[in-house]
């Protein structure tokens, strides 16, 4: 392991930079929620970030306060983070492999005469 001896804005050395020992676990924290916002009617809800809240109602109210202060949303979803299941990056190679050699699924695979203008 190497020492980082250069300091950055807002980043002042604390003697080793070891800020995460498990002394304070998340045990007493309010649960973590993922926030999804529909920007306007007709669009999908999109993940915008996360926050802590005691329950779903509080999560939605807090999400409104932090993520829609400038009218960025017309609808909010919150999901407790622990309920999100994710694919694993280390499996990505084999997991997405079946799609890799099927270039005929893309429209650009097909050569058409120029006369066919829009297809």
């Amino acid at each position: 392991m190497f020492a980082i001896n250069k300091y950055y804005y807002g980043d002042i050395p604390d003697g080793g930079g070891n800020t995460s020992n498990a002394q304070f676990s998340a045990e007493n924290e309010w649960p973590l929620w993922e926030v999804f916002i529909r920007h306007k009617q007709g669009l999908d809800h999109k993940h915008v970030g996360s926050l802590h809240a005691a329950d779903a109602n509080m999560a939605i109210e807090n999400a409104r306060d932090v993520y829609t202060r400038r009218m960025e949303g017309v609808s909010i979803w919150v999901v407790e983070s622990k309920n999100i299941h994710a694919s694993q990056p280390e499996d990505a190679g084999s997991f997405y492999d079946p799609a890799q050699d099927k270039i005929y699924r893309h429209p650009t695979f097909y050569d058409l005469p120029d006369e066919v203008k829009h297809m």
Binding site: M1, F2, A3, I4, N5, K6, Y7, Y8, Y9, G10, D11, I12, D14, G17, N18, T19, S20, N21, A22, Q23, F24, S25, A26, N28, E29, W30, L32, V48, G49, S50, L51, H52, A54, D55, M58, D65, V66, R69, R70, A86, Q88, P89, E90
Partner: protein
């Protein structure tokens, strides 16, 4: 391990963002937790010097603006804490590290806000300096940090503009108002320059954060960019910057400037600035006073969810 490390660096070199579940070197993770949490703490502590003036703003308009700005800063703290949490640290741990003095925050917030003009000077100079750093961080290699920065930059521009505009009004006011404006600039100028950190030359070791593309510009580069920008803008205010050595250098195409007082810089970093104790005490008090709320809300939520289970 070696292979992981090479793959990681090649992703960085190809400008592929690193995401939370990806393999990363421990030092990269630690460095990010430290930097992002310190950045978050800076947003939160940064609310204190301005909070001082909310009830004393000179008009309802200025009060509403200041409230909105302080509220933004709370939000920015949240975005950053959330980004740090994706690296495996807990919110409580970060807050504990702030309170124990283990984690730092930007030293600029250890200076007092003595007059109303300080609100303008903070917006223009302090937020101006922060924005240069944050614009660069929009392209940082860690995905959640970069996304938080994009969100913050979108909101931050109003902070700097309202600050400059507020000083502009003072600069066109009475003699006393003009003096107040100049005095605030005089007090905030040097601490703002210190926000960019020590000189590049004082770093003798390899620049790991650059290699990892956590950071993309050096302290001195950003500082020069800031000085060039502000040296132009201060003329529009009809005010001056408190540096007799500040002069345009035609050869460099940059402004030359005087020596920063590094002794003061390190004294404030080490806890001996004008307001270090006061700021930390205010944060701790807010946290302790809020303990019963956090506890009560948690117990209430648990009780409610049991009720729902029962009735189902």
């Amino acid at each position: 391990m070696m292979q992981h490390e090479q793959l990681f660096q090649s992703k960085i070199d190809q400008e592929v963002k690193i995401e939370p579940l990806d393999w990363m070197p421990d030092a990269y993770r630690k460095n990010l937790v430290r930097q992002i949490s310190q950045h978050a703490h800076s947003e939160i502590v940064g609310m204190l010097p301005e909070g001082n003036w909310i009830t004393r703003a000179p008009s309802l308009k200025r009060k509403a603006i200041l409230l909105a700005k302080v509220q933004d800063e709370a939000g920015h703290g949240l975005y950053l804490y959330s980004a740090a949490e994706t690296l495996g640290t807990s919110r409580d741990q970060m807050i504990e590290d702030l309170h124990s003095g283990k984690a730092k925050y930007s030293s600029i917030f250890n200076y007092p806000t003595l007059t109303w003009a300080d609100m303008g000077a903070i917006g223009w100079l302090v937020d101006g300096a922060a924005i240069l750093n944050q614009v660069m961080l929009c392209r940082t290699s860690y995905g959640p940090y970069a996304r938080a920065m994009v969100r913050i930059c979108k909101e931050e521009s109003f902070h700097q503009r309202q600050g400059f505009e507020s000083l502009l009004v003072l600069s066109k006011g009475t003699e006393t108002q003009k003096q107040m404006c100049q005095d605030a600039i005089n007090r905030w100028w040097w601490p703002s320059l210190m926000m960019f950190g020590p000189k590049d030359a004082d770093s003798t070791h390899s620049d790991q954060s650059m290699k990892w593309k956590i950071k993309r510009k050096s302290n001195d580069e950003l500082r020069q960019q800031f000085i060039d920008m502000i040296a132009g803008q201060v003329k529009l205010l009809g005010m001056t910057l408190p540096d007799p050595d500040l002069k345009w250098n035609e050869e460099r195409k940059h402004y030359d400037f005087g020596e920063i007082d590094w002794e003061e810089f390190w004294a404030v970093v080490k806890g001996n600035g004008p307001c270090n104790k006061e700021r930390l005490a205010a944060r701790k008090k807010a946290w302790d006073d809020g303990a019963w709320v956090r506890e009560a809300a948690k117990v209430y939520a648990e009780k409610q969810s049991k009720k729902i289970l029962k009735s189902a």
